[in-house]
Symmetry: C3
């Protein structure tokens, strides 16, 4: 049974097959490969974008989707998360999609090997489907991404998007630079070994082919890092003034804080791929579902 | 891309085609014209009847339906409604069904032209699918409704049902009378030009072929219009005593306040079409979905 | 129109047909017998297991499922439960699945005969699909269950699982013993006539082929029966020490309070069928849906 807790769970060959399917599905609507198969969504954190993307992907392939609300579930009657998962698994779903603030929950449940686990966001550890859709967006634009350089800008230490992207994009041959205020930059141990860290956008702007801007995840901070995020925006917002006409691809996992993360003007620029990422996310998740459920 | 924000968005020919399909679907269950196509429900106000009707209509045609809960969505992370809509649209849904207390939200989002917008209730401005199902119910009973007279009774000023019905039924050739206490009657500007207004049911009861009774939408009133709605009921409740055997069709968009809007006795009378309206709503929405999604 | 409010609503022949289908579906995934047919879930009490089981069962057969949240529904606008049900029924669903804390709601709504009613839990009166899945689990293990003896252990007086099981399993020829503290044992009138009642597990352990352990439903108790449920567990927990190697089938409707209802060790024993019950519940509900919707 093939789980997807992080992109490391996939072989190069699997990633290649998934990517090919994602592009094919974007080009032409596929048949309902997964008709009447079942996805269970178990989201312990709020999500619009990711849950909706998984749900649309599943339904376009013919799946039935069940959304469990963990807060009104049996865990209220004293059941452990593991027992809830074992019970759901006993109903033979084809996959269980899990989001949890804890880094280890999806991994631990997948290790029970009772149902196929798809991680839709685990603490600041991993968000593999986001990494794969970002990879798709980069390949779609650059073709060959080996040797290209991407700067990840912002609240990297809180971000599962960053940690999954770092693992996948390095594996695919990209150079990665980290940019942000000290409080947002990870300790060296964060992703296994040191990546170049910068405090200012201007120090990297001439070195990069792409920028991945991140939202400050203030809901994860124990105490506020900035009193006023416009101060953060003054230094790290991706603006036309920063870009100065350079041909740099702009990405962001959303939701974008306008004029703090990226300026209104840049958001309307054709180099900005924020909504393309969302579209690619749909086709990538369709491809992931098809490959993992049909082939494992 | 054909939106449906108000019935004015539809040509006479489109309404004719939709009505014909609605009657055909009521007669015989259609094939799943919209298999694996996607509806996203974005309801900023509570709804049982309308959301359920849209959802059953979609599913009987084979669609997948995604219900977003705006209160637990990305708007909480600081995203604007327009950005949330742009993100949903980037996932290529076949329609987005929107209910919002603001008169202009559905219209403004439809103007972005990113997804097909179906208005499931906009402030007191428009509720086009309700107007169309009411139209269907009238045609089903009368055949030709041109020249027939309908009285709309009750909280007209709060009611999108009234405003959409007025526009559509006048266009289809009906005479419309408004009946209610002063506080419930609209200023002349409400629907473009003056309609005859009456304070008492007895002043119109001999002139009408149909009555559309409305619930007092106390949740929309800034301050209570009546301390006790039984006082309202004494004057405006549709009872057998008011009808005195006259052959008048009784309609109501629901939920009915029993013995305030319509008496228990009249609700059980065969002239009362409240539940027929609900049934027609299902087939009308199936017809709307089929015509708008397949043909535009 | 065939409702399922209690198992008494089904003839022996119907139960036989449903059981045969449930085993067949467990052996081999059936075709989508109920494609684009509609289930409406109306759960006035929280549920993970039962709602999810119904929903997966429906979707594996191709049905569309609509979940209504009664707390945000028209009943808030002053509509009665009967009117809400009449409105839902006017949308022609193929079944309405109802859970309510009141013993009589499902029965009363079924008597309106507007939609097919499936009871997913009614007060402490009936939970027929649970009784049928328990029956399936017993037949799967024992083949012929006539003359076998089952002890129901725990909070019997609060339990619709117990009351439905007692009616069905006695009808199928089993002997039933009730075990628990006085406060948990029902008055003689509870299930029509007296069943043997015991205060201690050791008084029945040599007489039984199966034990159905029940959770103390503290949410239904007016005042706490035990200050600390570990005291209850000391006397009624099913442990290896109690079983002492006897070949007794262990069942529980879930969620299990570990080491109060059943010990960790017994939960891992192959004689313990808790998760098998969950799996059988899925196939039993598929069989119920198919038989009731296609044949009535």
């Amino acid at each position: 049974m093939q789980h997807l807790v992080d992109t490391n769970d996939l072989s190069d060959k699997q990633i290649e097959a998934i990517l090919a399917d994602a592009f094919a599905f974007k080009h032409k609507n596929p048949p309902p490969f997964l008709e009447n198969k079942i996805m269970v969504n178990l989201f312990f954190e709020d999500s619009t974008r990711t849950r909706t993307s998984f749900e649309i992907a599943a339904k376009r392939l013919g799946m039935g989707v069940i959304n469990l609300n963990p807060s009104s579930s049996s865990t209220n009657k004293g059941e452990t998360l593991e027992d809830t998962f074992a019970n759901i698994s006993a109903m033979d779903p084809d996959c269980v999609v899990i989001r949890h603030k804890d880094n280890n929950v999806a991994r631990n449940l997948s290790a029970m090997n009772l149902s196929r686990v798809l991680n839709a966001g685990a603490g600041n550890y991993a968000h593999p489907t986001q990494a794969l859709l970002d990879y798709m967006t980069l390949v779609e634009h650059f073709g060959d991404i080996r040797g290209k350089t991407i700067a990840i800008v912002g609240d990297i230490i809180s971000s599962r998007v960053a940690s999954s992207a770092i693992r996948l994009l390095r594996r695919m041959g990209m150079n990665i630079l980290l940019v942000g205020p000290k409080a947002f930059l990870p300790p060296i141990s964060f992703v296994g070994d040191a990546l170049p860290q910068y405090k200012k956008l201007e120090d990297v702007i001439d070195k990069v082919d792409a920028i991945m801007s991140l939202r400050a995840q203030i809901e994860r901070h124990e105490k506020p890092v900035f009193k006023d995020y416009s101060h953060y925006g003054h230094k790290y917002c991706i603006t036309q003034e920063v870009l100065k006409g350079r041909n740099i691809l702009i990405m962001h996992p959303g939701p974008v804080m306008r004029n703090i993360d990226i300026s209104d003007e840049v958001l309307q620029d054709s180099r900005c791929k924020v909504l393309t990422q969302v579209t690619n996310g749909l086709y990538m998740r369709m491809a992931i579902l098809k490959n993992l459920i049909l082939d494992s």
